[in-house]
């Protein structure tokens, strides 16, 4: 009987401690005044609290505006945006993809499996793509899979896993059960896109055609491509196990010569970079947003402390 009382006491103390800790690390609720809608020329990013936040791209250390939206990954262009939200749950994690208009009103909701990894919106705002990764409770490569989806906002047609696209490796139709795609980036015509495909331990840059639903390998070793505004270059992460932190380095590939230039970021970067202008890319590294010249010169410049998933919003012209 005495032991039962001690156990009850221990339980009360521990549950009290648990509650106190939970209260102390609780995250603030969304601010009362929220900025609704996306503004031209602002840089949007996910703050460490998960809150979607923005700064003026020309003055990134200036005043911050929090939006009434939590996103784990965010992308936007012209009249559309995507907000990926991770959900813990019974079973494996899930992701909710909120498709939003320019006023950040929800137009569609897509329920996905996995953990948010990448989100992109084409320059016209028409094509929206995302990548989630799905893992079991092991961190081994064999238990790891990425699922990439594409939504055509004009037709409303959504592909939740593009792995059935007709893949050609070096011109030959290729079949393998282990093909994974991630990091889609669309060209200005909204049907040509680039993405990373991985199979049998190799990663390829593929050029896809959404209308024909086929993809052709272009070169190898390119992950998380992001197409430049003029469509001639791709910024990407290249595997480099000597990089500090994440085992990738940022590089820019010239699509006409297939020649790569390593950028002046010496640290490892695990992100799908964005283009701020034809000469500058931005990316998240160690929970902060940086910009670096796209030609390998210069040094990284910190834009935002405490931010990930950056996107520079351009309004419809």
């Amino acid at each position: 009987m005495k032991r039962a009382w001690i156990t009850a006491l221990v339980a009360v103390v521990l549950l009290g401690g648990a509650t106190a800790y939970a209260v102390s690390v609780r995250q603030p609720a969304a601010p009362a005044t929220v900025q609704d809608g996306l503004t031209d020329g602002r840089l949007y990013f996910r703050a460490a609290t998960g809150q979607l936040t923005s700064v003026r791209a020309s003055d990134p250390t200036g005043e911050r505006e929090a939006l009434g939206l939590r996103c784990d990954r965010f992308a936007a262009a012209q009249a559309s945006a995507i907000c990926l939200i991770a959900n813990a749950g019974p079973g494996l994690p899930t992701t909710t993809a909120l498709i939003l208009d320019r006023d950040l009103h929800e137009t569609r909701r897509i329920n996905l499996a996995g953990i948010p990894s990448r989100a992109q919106v084409s320059r016209t705002g028409r094509m929206i793509s995302w990548t989630v990764f799905v893992t079991g409770d092991s961190y081994r490569a064999s238990g790891f899979s990425t699922w990439t989806g594409i939504l055509d906002t004009r037709t409303g047609y959504a592909v939740v896993n593009m792995e059935n696209i007709h893949l050609y490796v070096d011109g030959e139709r290729y079949h393998s059960p282990d093909v994974n795609y991630w990091g889609v980036t669309f060209a200005a015509d909204d049907t040509t896109f680039y993405a990373t495909a991985s199979t049998r331990g190799r990663t390829y840059l593929v050029r896809g055609d959404y209308a024909k639903w086929e993809a052709h390998t272009v070169t190898t070793g390119v992950e998380c491509p992001s197409l430049s505004p003029d469509g001639t270059r791709i910024v990407y992460k290249r595997r480099d196990d000597s990089a500090a932190g994440a085992p990738w380095r940022l590089a820019v590939l010239d699509l006409s010569t297939l020649r790569s230039t390593t950028l002046a970021e010496a640290q490892g970067v695990d992100d799908q970079a964005i283009w701020l202008d034809p000469a500058t890319v931005a990316y998240a590294r160690d929970g902060e947003v940086f910009a670096v010249p796209a030609d390998g010169s210069g040094v990284p410049r910190r834009l935002v402390a405490d931010g990930t998933s950056p996107v520079l919003f351009r309004a419809p012209e």
Partner: protein, 397 residues
Amino acid sequence: MYVTVGRDTPAPGRRALRAVPATVLVLGTVSLITDVSSEMVTAVMPLYLALALGLTPLQLGLADALSFGVTAVLRPIGGRVSDRWRAKPVAVFGYALSAVAKAGVLVAGAAIGPLAAAIVADRTGKGLRTAPRDAMIAASVAPERQGTAFGVHRAMDTLGALVGPLVALAVLAATGGAYRAVFGVSFCIALLGVGVLLLHVRDSPVRTETVPPMWTVLKDRSLRRICLAAAGLGLFTVSDFFVYLLLQRSGAVPIQYFPLLPLGTAAVYLLLAVPLGRLADTRRVEVLLGGHLALVAALLLLIGTHTAAVALVGVLALHGLFYAATDGVLMALAAPQVPPAGRTTGLAVIQTVQAAARFVSSLAVGALWTAWSERTALLVMAVGLTAAVAGAAKVLR
């Protein structure tokens, strides 16, 4: 601490469970509480790593291999200490190590080394405590009731595993999505589990007879036979994640429901653990091997059926049946056959052999899948597992 020998007094309860001793129910409670704690962490860990810390799962791939290696070495040592001295302190150490690891994750932040260390400590704790705990369950009940005892324990364990993610969800909802709060609460719940273990589980008696040298324990013929069977079966046991991934790829499950698949297995496991445990009181080998045949049937169903509902319900039911008929039953089968003086060591060795075989199996499935196709991988594993069942039937007879 009060010393009991052999089985202790049955706890009051429903007639079917009357023969289940208090020790089993208390250990079941400890496992239930601990599984709530550990499954809370499992539910949010990938999100925490990827979204709060910005790490890729691949960056922690080393933690997997390291946990496996460290556990493989420490588990038999823990078993040996239990046999030569007492089981409870080893179990307490294992539970406490996992509890501290939850706080370790918080302290580590995004530093990969400390984070990997915390993950390794958590899994090592789990590896260390299993054999002494199972030995305590086995020691508390007569040989002809081993199946029921392990069935009840595993059912309570699974209940905790089902409740854990719900607690994690509640904590996230209450804290505006603070992952750190989940680890903190998980740490406190894990400590409660250690407290219940310390206060309510009677220790095994201090050994008076001399414990045979390690080599003699390992040379035991029944232990070797069970290890051989466990190795053969483990080599062809397809890991859960592959079963779910293959089920999803078969088209049976819309992508957004994929994350719910483990719940199906767990629910069937929970329902069947006690009935199959009772059946295993008298027919241990048959239940163990039948369970593996259920997994074969699940694999064949994955290959053969094109009816989504049949695949979904059938595979999950068979997968849950596989767990209910094998997880606790292997221990119920082994415990009475291994000489008491080396029992914990014996159980630890069997668990290590099984873990090693399954580790090889998951690599093999990945390789087969990549090199040929998922169908080939499934067929090879189904044929191999059938052969392993036939072999085990011969060895365990």
